[in-house]
């Protein structure tokens, strides 16, 4: 067959004709030079391959896969396109690796890949630990009584009215994880009436797990004497029996608490809130740790038991429930959703417009 060089401006019919020959890869990149037809000799095909471009059908520069009307063929062409892209990427990687090895010591340092956490917009409310004003603010806020060791935490866990089995079991497991916590059945009582009674009996926290259609989906955490109330969205609740390789039940030892990545002022408030849930002195004998890890405004709760195999290696075993929280609002004062004053409210359209901006 002859070698044809086709110049410009084809109609889509030409593509369709060529597509009938399956197994030929198309080059949907725009603006490329037209390639030789498939009737080439092997040598030229090899040459073309070394250029990373196997023998292709020509096409006008404005071709794109989406112009093919037939869904099956379009899908096929798209898959081919993707395969080719992957190949190119691998080839590029290989080339770079070779160059790196060739340079040896003189190779430039590896570039750090961009992640959303890397690209996070700098939040001006990030707390500077030496700032006197913030130190004073935190030293005299609602949690200062706990941090000055004047009170011990005592938590009341309850649910929304008429909880289903899963939520009940979740509450029970939470009660084993958080020391000095009590689960009470919510008999349709109004929270505003429950709160004064809790304060009278010396509770420091009220935790209400909201349930919807047999799944827990909300958590209200209210610090009791006069403290802030945080409303979270709960997702991904995994009970103990759903965990793989879980250990024995969590014991009565007071766990250690890890709070990761609460950097902004709001994050500090929430972090302190979580910290005040647990008693002050952890029992290191128990080797249990509760982790609240904040990443991209989602707070992941995990409960582990750890053991040091030697100085450098640790084995961990996940016990206990695991769940994910997302802060919806932080209200100053005890629970009063109608007339309470809010310190922070999540407004989706204003706050979620930038993918790299986080608030906690």
């Amino acid at each position: 067959m002859d070698v044809k060089e086709v110049e410009v401006d084809f109609g889509t019919q030409e593509h369709v004709k060529k597509l009938k020959k399956k197994g030929k890869k198309q080059k949907p990149k725009k603006g490329k030079k037209p390639h030789k037809e498939n009737g080439e000799t092997n040598e030229e095909a090899e040459k073309a391959k070394t250029d990373e471009k196997p023998p292709e059908m020509h096409f006008p520069p404005t071709f794109s896969v989406s112009e093919i009307k037939n869904k099956q063929r379009r899908h096929f062409m798209f898959l081919k396109f993707k395969q080719e892209k992957r190949k190119e990427k691998l080839a590029l990687k290989k080339k770079r690796k070779k160059e790196r090895q060739a340079l040896g010591d003189k190779a430039p340092p590896k570039e750090v890949p961009k992640t959303i956490e890397n690209q996070r917009v700098y939040d001006e409310t990030t707390v500077d630990p030496q700032d006197e004003e913030i130190v004073f603010d935190e030293g005299t806020d609602e949690f200062s009584a706990y941090f000055n060791r004047l009170t011990n935490p005592k938590i009341l866990i309850t649910t929304s009215d008429r909880p289903r089995g899963r939520t009940v079991r979740f509450c029970e497991q939470l009660a084993t994880v958080i020391p000095d916590s009590h689960v009470y059945y919510r008999r349709g009582l109004a929270l505003k009436r429950v709160i004064p009674q809790c304060i009278a009996r010396g509770f420091t926290y009220l935790m209400v797990i909201n349930e919807d259609r047999k799944i827990s989906n909300g958590l209200i955490l209210s610090h009791l004497p006069d403290g802030p109330t945080a409303h979270f969205k709960v997702s991904s609740v995994r009970l103990r029996k759903e965990m793989k390789r879980k250990g024995k039940e969590p014991t009565e030892h007071v766990p250690e608490v890890i709070l990761n990545n609460f950097t902004t002022r709001l994050g500090h408030s929430i972090g302190r809130m979580f910290a005040s849930l647990f008693p002050h002195d952890p029992n290191f004998v128990g080797r249990q740790v509760a982790t609240f890890h904040n990443q991209r405004d989602y707070i992941f709760f995990r409960y582990h038991r750890y053991i040091f195999k030697n100085e450098k290696r640790v084995g961990i075993q996940e016990l206990g429930p695991r769940f994910t929280l997302k802060l919806r609002s932080l209200q100053k004062g005890t629970f009063d959703s109608k007339f309470g004053v809010y310190e922070w409210v999540h407004k989706r359209h204003e706050m979620d417009s930038c993918r790299r901006k986080f608030h906690l």
């Binding site: 001006e124 409310t125 700032d131 006197e132 004003e133 913030i134 004073f136 603010d137 005299t140 002022r265 100053k332 109608k338 007339f339 309470g340 004053v341 809010y342 310190e343 922070w344 409210v345 407004k347 204003e350 706050m351």
Partner: protein, 434 residues
């Protein structure tokens, strides 16, 4: 430090007891307090100007002391303890050299300068706000939870001049609850606009025969904690506990626009007295300045503590004065050359001269508008006066921030050729004089 307090255009009182002054031009905030003596009972609950020239700020704290802060000297000059009644200050005002304070339990006292005793009025329990009328200086309005609006005349303290009546029972025949959170007198008349904890904005008119509100507008579902009238008293800016801020038209009773960006409860709002700006502060620890005409956020300053109240000074120029001084300097040089050319040329009509004379007369009342205004413009005027006796473009640019023609023309002349600036100058002169 002394310089900085003169340049501050917004004063904010925080929950930690620190008085903060914010300079919007340089976008800097200054803390004016002694960090070693901070305590929670110094929490600022009320702020007001000490005098008409805005050279003193009166800071009312939770422990019932009223501190006087002088903006000229950048420090607290007076401390005054105002006992009596219970609860924090709900209103502070200055009348005729004496201090008017109102506390939450309803005790309104007028403290005369120097003496310890005071005239007292009991205005009812649970007062949330006391407001002082700017036009009729002896009138004061109070209101609170289940404590409807009462307007008092301080010269006749036995009975209120106006006592508002509650609305009729609603469609379920239930009594309509009353909870006034914030109020303001409408200047130029006797009317009072209030915002309630039941998300209503009401306008009361003592001059009308009905004691019920003349206008009622509802906004959203959360308590409206702050309220401020705009510079033209036709609309009011309200903020609620969810951080929703809206501008409501009082003539038609409808919502004009919403101002976005506030994440926490708005505790205090104030509109600028002449520019279309509104400052808001609240529990989210930010001070925000919005433009009321297009709703855009102009400035946002992080202030580290929860902010309770704010005061917006009525300075005309809130942007960096240093920059305009520079621009004026450059323009002045151009204009020096131009003015020589113009001076050589014979004056055609009196219009140019009239324009110049008018500018001079405009300049005169400026220094008398107040020491802080003078303080603000001092550097600029001094810079100008050093180089030239009088510059039209500079003075126009300085004064007319709102009037766009002159300002933009003034900016346009910077960096252009003489011919172009001359051409523009003729336009400017003709327009200013016409």
């Amino acid at each position: 430090m002394a310089e900085s307090s003169r340049l501050c255009s917004v004063w904010v009182g925080s929950e930690t007891g620190i008085l903060k002054g914010v300079d919007l031009g340089k976008k800097q905030a200054f803390n004016y307090s002694d960090l070693s003596t901070l305590s929670r009972d110094q929490e600022v609950s009320a702020l007001c100007w000490g005098d008409d020239f805005e050279s003193e700020v009166l800071v009312g704290c939770v422990n019932r002391t009223v501190k006087t802060f002088s903006t000229e000297k950048s420090r607290f000059t007076e401390f005054r303890h105002c006992p009596g009644g219970e609860g924090p200050f709900r209103g502070l005002a200055v009348w005729d050299g004496s201090l008017i304070t109102c506390v939450e339990s309803g005790l309104l006292k007028v403290w005369k300068e120097g003496s310890v005793d005071s005239a007292e009025i009991t205005v009812g329990p649970d007062v949330y706000k006391m407001c002082h009328s700017p036009s009729q200086r002896h009138r004061v309005a109070t209101g609170g939870k289940e404590n409807d609006l009462k307007i008092w005349d301080l010269q006749r303290p036995e009975e209120p001049v106006f006592r508002a009546k509650n609305l009729r029972n609603d469609w379920l025949d239930l009594r309509v609850p009353v909870w006034i959170r914030d109020m303001q007198f409408i200047p130029g008349s006797d009317k009072v606009v209030t915002s309630t904890g039941y998300h209503q904005v009401r306008v009361y008119d003592p001059a009308s025969p009905q004691r019920r509100p003349v206008l009622q507008v509802e906004y959203e579902e959360y308590p409206l904690t702050a309220l401020s009238l705009t510079a033209d008293a036709n609309s009011v800016v309200v903020g609620n506990t969810h951080g929703q801020v809206a501008i409501i038209d009082l003539r038609q009773g409808r919502l004009l626009r919403c101002l976005k960006g506030v994440a926490g409860s708005v505790l205090s709002l104030q509109c600028h007295s002449s520019l279309p700006l509104v400052a808001s502060c609240g529990l989210d620890r930010f001070l925000r300045i919005h433009n009321t005409q297009d709703g855009r956020l102009q400035h946002k300053v992080y202030l580290k503590s929860r902010l309770n109240c704010l005061l917006f000074s009525s300075q005309d120029k809130l942007e960096a004065d240093g920059e305009t001084a520079l621009q004026d300097g450059v323009k002045e040089e151009d204009e020096e050359e131009e003015d020589e050319v113009w001076a050589d040329m014979p004056t055609v009509t009196d219009r140019a001269g009239g324009g110049k004379r008018r500018n001079e007369s405009e300049e005169e009342p400026q220094p008398s508008t107040g020491p802080d205004a003078a303080g603000k413009t001092k550097s600029a005027t001094q810079a100008k006066k050093k180089t030239k006796g009088m510059t039209i473009g500079a003075t126009q640019a300085k004064k007319t921030k709102g009037k766009t023609i002159d300002a933009t023309q003034a900016k346009k002349t910077k960096g252009k050729t003489i011919d172009a600036t001359q051409a523009k100058k003729t336009k400017r002169k003709l327009r200013s004089s016409s």
